[in-house]
């Protein structure tokens, strides 16, 4: 099978160039080549969003992308963050501080089995980043969260607590909301 050279930055570290079979999904690449197993395979057809990771666009904006339906070539040369890259680590790789989104999920008991959590963390992180650049009207918070995360499926039905946690982060972080329109 044809291979392609792959290099990118994952969680701040340069990866590659590696020779990877061209049809390898990004999810498999993270699992099998980088040993980053925090990203979960849910449905495998791009519906449940459990496998969502974050990719930095050319303008630095963070975008959520599903890793199960996209092959590794899409991420060549890109800056990628997975759930392993969200917390602040010290030199030894130990967690110093969880991200505000992660903390809020814990505080709100948002998840039970945790399979969808990595996807929610990344999706919510991309949403917060977007609001930093383009604040939402204060009276539209619910719509904004629903539109950004409504496609993420949680079979333990933690939706309400995920929702509450994300709302908490948005409303307690300066600069994410503007006056109601």
């Amino acid at each position: 099978m044809a291979k392609i050279p792959v290099s990118m930055i994952v969680n701040g570290e340069k990866v590659g160039p590696l020779e990877v079979a061209e049809y390898t999904s990004m999810l498999d690449f993270l699992h099998e080549y980088l040993n980053l197993t925090g990203t979960k395979l849910g449905c495998g057809i791009g519906v449940c969003h459990a496998c969502t990771i974050v990719v930095e666009g050319e303008d630095g904006a963070l975008e959520p992308v599903r890793s199960c339906i996209n092959n590794v070539g899409r991420f060549n040369g890109k800056v990628v963050t997975t759930v392993e890259g969200q917390a602040e680590l010290d030199a030894a790789g130990e967690v110093v501080a969880l991200s505000p989104v992660q903390q809020a999920f814990l505080r709100n008991f948002s998840f039970q089995c945790g399979w969808c959590t990595a996807g929610f963390v990344n999706g919510a992180t991309a949403l917060i980043d977007r609001l930093k650049r383009d604040p939402a009207p204060a009276d539209k918070v619910e719509e904004v969260i629903g539109e950004a995360l409504g496609e993420h499926i949680c079979r333990c039905t933690g939706y309400v607590r995920y929702f509450r946690a994300v709302r908490e982060v948005i409303e307690s972080t300066p600069g994410l909301l503007k006056e109601a329109e």
Partner: protein, 407 residues
């Protein structure tokens, strides 16, 4: 005496059964005419109207067609109903030709009567729809009589001799009730169908309502079996119905009898089932469009398969021999890549996942390369698509606000 009662009972029952069957026939014809699609707002109650139609002349709202006397059509006689359906003459003045009376004028008297009976038996719902918001001079209804005079061509249905009864039935369903031409026929400056380019395709709401002339359908690889799949399930080996056509399948085509679906197909393919579906040359295409192939592998193959083989028609249809890939016009290929497709539900057991749009990530040159690779590998289209063509379609879609969706 006893005999009389029995006879009377029979008469009453018989009459009731006849009326009931007229209602059921009317319900079926209303499905064939897809009345519900336009006369229902998003998530609204069927037939009470209020769906907005954005036109270059402003916004129109569909009307309440339940038999409410104040806000619906409760005061319509059969003659009033026929005038609205076939001549676009409503109780409140001329109808805008968003109402497809320009096709419905071909509906037979008997069918008009059944439709009337059906609509008059619906529960009456009091519901006032918003006022039309049109610019001058389109807001003046008397101008519509001029439009009708200039553009409403009431030519009778062409019924050539030598065609099978099935073909003739399809002819009637497609042209009269189905009003397919209203979307699939190009329109002139005044939004009237160009009769000499019947079914040649038309850009509507950022999609190409494709060329459905028999020759084009065959070129796109449509045979009886695949068309039947598309019309009954919304998905096929040649691709899925999307945009407004999804709703047509959901509310209209999927509710028609096998006989009528067969008739429609016979008419559309003009009785010729000989479809030679040759693919292209994927080896050559890969050499010629290396970046296009690399992008297919990276962005598309996760769902549409390694050799464009697809997964299932509903989830991710094959690109190999896909009708959109084989179509003469690349519009829909480009528009789908840029816009993506929404998740949609046909019924309890048939739902689709939706497709991300790539307009933010793929520039014009890469979209052109991707389209050219696919057309060359699996479609056999001769003319390559230029970067400028992609730019033009992207510009049009952005201008009309169809490129807002993020993955």
């Amino acid at each position: 005496m006893g005999k009389c009662i029995v006879v009377l009972l029979f008469l009453l029952l018989g009459g009731n059964v006849a009326a009931q069957s007229t209602v059921e026939k009317g319900r079926y014809l209303a499905a064939a005419g897809d009345c519900v699609a336009c006369h229902t707002a998003t998530n609204g109650r069927p037939f009470i109207g209020g769906r907005p139609f954005h036109t270059p002349f402003g916004t129109l709202y569909s009307t309440n067609i339940t038999p409410d006397k104040e806000t619906g059509i409760g005061n319509y006689t059969l003659e009033d109903f026929a005038a609205a359906m076939r001549r676009g003459e409503g109780a409140h003045g001329n109808l805008y030709p968003a109402m497809p009376y320009t096709s419905y004028y071909l509906i037979a008297d008997e069918d008009i009567a059944s439709l009337y009976t059906y609509f008059m038996r619906l529960p009456a719902v009091e519901h006032v729809v918003p006022n039309n918001d049109l610019f001058f001079p389109a807001n003046l209804r008397f101008g519509l009589s001029f439009w009708d005079w200039a553009f409403f061509d009431k030519a009778p249905l062409v019924q050539p001799e030598g065609k099978s009864p099935e073909w003739q039935r399809g002819n009637y369903l497609v042209n009269a009730l189905g009003h397919c031409g209203e979307c699939h026929t190009p329109r002139n400056f005044a939004f009237a169908m160009k009769r000499d380019e019947k079914f040649a395709g038309n850009i509507l709401e950022g999609w190409d309502a494709v060329d459905i002339r028999a020759e084009s359908l065959r070129r796109q690889g449509w045979d009886r079996a695949q068309l039947r799949l598309l019309f009954t399930t919304g998905a096929s080996e040649r691709g899925t119905a999307f945009g407004e056509m999804f709703s047509v399948v959901k509310h209209s085509l999927s509710r028609l009898s096998d006989d009528d679906i067969n008739a429609i197909i016979t008419y559309l393919l003009d009785g010729d089932d000989n479809v030679a579906v040759n693919g292209g040359d994927s080896q050559l295409a890969a050499q010629q469009y290396a970046q296009g192939r690399a992008d297919f592998v990276a962005y598309c193959a996760g769902c549409h398969g390694r050799e464009g083989s697809g997964v299932t028609p509903v989830f991710a249809p094959p690109m190999d021999r896909n009708a959109g890939v084989r179509a003469e016009s690349p519009f829909n290929m480009i528009a789908v890549i840029l816009r993506g497709l929404p998740a949609q539900r046909m019924n309890r057991t048939n739902a689709r996942a939706g497709m991300p749009g790539f307009h933010r990530e793929l520039d014009d040159a890469r979209v052109a390369g991707l389209v050219n690779f696919m057309r060359s590998a699996w479609g056999g289209a001769e003319t390559p698509v230029t970067q400028e063509k992609v730019a033009e379609i992207r510009h049009q879609l952005r201008k009309d606000d169809y490129l807002g969706v993020v993955e």
